[in-house]
Amino acid sequence: MLGLGPEEWGAVALSLRVSIVATLAILPLAIWVAHLLARREFVGKGVLNALVLLPLVLPPVVTGYLLLLTFGTQGAVGGFLSNLGIVFAFRWTGAALAAAIMAFPLMVRAIRLGFEASDPKLEQAATTLGASPWRVFRTITLPAALPSVIAGAVLGFAKAMGEFGATITFVAAIPGQTQTIPSAIYAFLQVPGGESQAGKLVLVSLVIALGAVAVSEWVARKVAGRRA
C-alpha cells in the first residue's frame, strides 16, 4: 500500500508506538500538574510553572542533549536505571521519553484551561454530599475538564509525532529502532532521489494528523452531547 518499503513502514509503526506510549504515559502527570497549577496555591508555584514550560522554550536540541546527559548510560539517572535493566539511550523508549517531555508543556497548558473553566461550586456540592477529595476529582472535576483533557492529549500526540530535534540528539536515528517519521523524512532528503520516499511519509503524516483531529472531535462531541 502506498508503495512503502519495510524501512518506511518501520518508521511509521515506530512513530505511532512512540507517540501513543509517550502520550498515555505522561497524561496522568500532565493532569495532576495542570490541576495543581489551576486550583492550588503553594510556595514554588511559579518555579513549577517555569519548569513545566521549559521544554517549550528551550531549543529542542538542548533538551535532547540534557536528556542524554541525564538519562544516557553515563548519566546520573540513566546509570542508576540501567542497573535496573531500564535503558533509554538509543532505544525506542528513549524516543518516547523525549517525545513525552516535549509534549508535556502543551498538554499541561491545554488541560489547565479546562480545570480553570470548570466550576468549583459543583465540587463543593459534591463534598457536602460526603464525597472524598479523590472521589470529587474523579467524578466531578475530571469529567468537567474532559474536553480539555482530550484536546491536550491530541495536542501532545501531534507534538510527539512531529518531535525531531530532541529525539535525534538523544537517541539518534537508527532505522527500525529510533528512526521516527520526521527523522526518516530528513534522512531520505539527504540522499539524491529520496524525495519520492520522503513524499510518501509526508502523506502518511498528514493522514495520521487528520485522523487524530477527527477522532478527538468525535470524542469531544460525544462528551459534550450529554451536557447543557
Binding site: 461550586k121 454530599l129 460526603g130 451536557r227
Partner: protein, 363 residues
C-alpha cells in the same frame, strides 16, 4: 438537638463575629445581603474554616479553634441546598440524587418525605432539561438522600421568580415538617422565615444582633429596628374555619376571634401561621363601627417601645396570641396608650399577602 455556634473569621475586608444557640428545629438566619449569613452556614458545612471559636451540633464537635478540631466537610453528614441548584450536568437526575449514597438504592417514597417533591417522573432526565423549580427540587432531594444529620438551605428560593416561590413554599413546609434533623435556613425574606422557622437569628454586618424563638422575637417591639420597620410583625396561630367562603375570602379562627383574609389553599381545620405586619395594624380605643375593615380583634396593650423615629411599636395580647402595631408617637400620646389598656386592633384583609399565610403553628 441543641446547636451552638460561636465563630470569628476574617474574609478579606469583612469580619464575621457570630454566635448563637438554638434548640434545633428550623433556625432561620435573617438579614440583608452581605451580612454574613452564608458565611455562617459555610462554616457549619466546613466549606470554610473559622479563625477561632466553636461549632457544636448536639454532642458532636464540628470545629473547635482551641483544640484544633476541624471535621472535613465530606465527613460532616450535612445536606446543603445552595442558592442555585448546582446539579452535576453530566449526570441524570437519578444519578444526581444517588450521588450522596453511592452504594445504595435510593427511594423517593417514604424516605425523608421526598415524595412531596414530586420528582419521580424526572429521574431519567438531565439537568439541562429541567425548569428552575424542578432543578431546585432535585437539589433538595439530593441533599436529603445523603441522609444528613443537619440540613443547610441558603436562600433556596432565590433562583425562582415570585410566582414559583409561592408554589414552592408549601413543598418546603411539608418537607421541613417531616424531617427531625436541625435545619438552618438562610433568607432575607421575612415572609419565608415567618412561615418556616422555629428559631430566628438576625444578622447585620457580620454580627448576630438578635437570637430567639421566632414567635417571641417577632412580637418583641424592641426588636423592630433590627428586623426592619417594614418587615416587623407578629405571627398569629390560626385554624382554617372555612377555606372557601363565597366572597373569595377564607375564614380563619384565632384565639381572640375570627379573621377574614384572602383565600388560602388549605383544608378546613388546618393549623397555620399568619404574619400580620405591624404597619398594617390600626388601633382603636373603642370598638369601631361602620368601618370597611373586616377584622377587628379585641386586645390588651402589653408594652410600648419608642424608637428613634416618629413611630412607636405597640405590643398587644389578643387571646393567647401576640400582635404588634406600629403607629405614630403622636397617635399613641393622643390615645393615651399605656400598658394594660384594652383596645381593638383593626387589620385590613387585603393587606395580608398570600405569602404571609402558611406553615405550621409556632406551638
Amino acid at each position: 438537638m441543641s446547636v451552638s455556634v460561636q465563630i470569628t473569621q476574617r474574609l478579606g475586608d469583612f469580619a464575621l463575629d457570630a454566635s448563637f444557640e438554638s434548640e434545633g428545629g428550623v433556625t432561620a438566619l435573617f438579614g440583608p445581603s452581605g451580612c454574613g449569613k452564608t458565611s455562617v452556614i459555610n462554616a457549619i458545612a466546613g466549606l470554610s474554616r473559622p479563625d477561632a471559636g466553636h461549632i457544636r451540633l448536639g454532642d458532636q464537635v464540628l470545629f473547635d479553634g482551641e483544640t484544633g478540631v476541624f471535621v472535613p466537610p465530606h465527613k460532616r453528614r450535612i445536606g446543603y441546598v445552595f442558592q442555585e441548584p448546582r446539579l452535576f450536568p453530566h449526570m441524570s437526575v437519578g444519578q444526581n440524587i444517588g450521588y450522596g449514597r453511592p452504594n445504595q438504592l435510593y427511594s423517593t417514597r417514604g424516605d425523608g418525605g421526598l415524595a412531596v417533591l414530586g420528582i419521580e417522573h424526572l429521574m431519567e432526565r438531565y439537568p439541562r432539561d429541567l425548569s428552575g423549580g424542578e432543578a431546585q427540587r432535585v437539589a433538595i432531594a439530593r441533599a436529603l438522600t445523603s441522609q444528613p444529620k443537619v440540613l443547610l438551605m441558603d436562600e433556596p428560593l432565590a433562583a425562582l421568580d415570585d410566582a414559583r416561590k409561592t408554589d414552592f413554599l408549601p413543598y418546603l413546609q411539608a418537607l421541613v415538617a417531616k424531617t427531625s434533623i436541625p435545619v438552618f435556613y438562610v433568607s432575607h425574606a421575612m415572609s419565608e422565615v415567618a412561615q418556616l422557622a422555629d428559631h430566628l437569628v438576625v444578622m447585620r454586618d457580620g454580627r448576630v444582633v438578635r437570637s430567639g424563638a421566632l414567635a417571641q422575637l417577632l412580637s418583641d417591639p424592641a426588636a423592630i429596628s433590627d428586623i426592619g420597620v417594614r418587615e416587623a410583625g407578629a405571627i398569629l396561630n390560626v385554624t382554617v374555619a372555612q377555606a372557601d367562603a363565597s366572597d373569595g375570602l377564607s375564614v380563619l379562627a384565632t384565639s381572640a376571634g375570627r379573621l377574614f383574609l384572602p383565600k388560602v389553599q388549605a383544608e378546613d381545620g388546618t393549623a397555620m401561621r399568619v404574619r400580620i405586619r405591624a404597619s398594617d395594624v390600626i388601633l382603636s380605643k373603642d370598638k369601631p363601627d361602620g368601618l370597611s375593615a373586616l377584622n377587628i380583634l379585641p386586645c390588651t396593650v402589653t408594652q410600648i417601645h419608642e424608637g428613634q423615629g416618629p413611630g412607636v411599636a405597640v405590643a398587644l395580647r389578643s387571646g393567647e396570641d401576640a400582635l404588634m402595631a406600629r403607629i405614630t408617637r403622636r397617635s399613641a400620646r393622643t390615645m393615651g396608650l399605656t400598658a394594660g389598656l384594652r383596645c381593638y386592633a383593626v387589620i385590613k384583609s387585603v393587606s395580608v399577602a398570600p405569602t404571609d399565610m402558611g406553615g405550621r403553628g409556632t406551638g
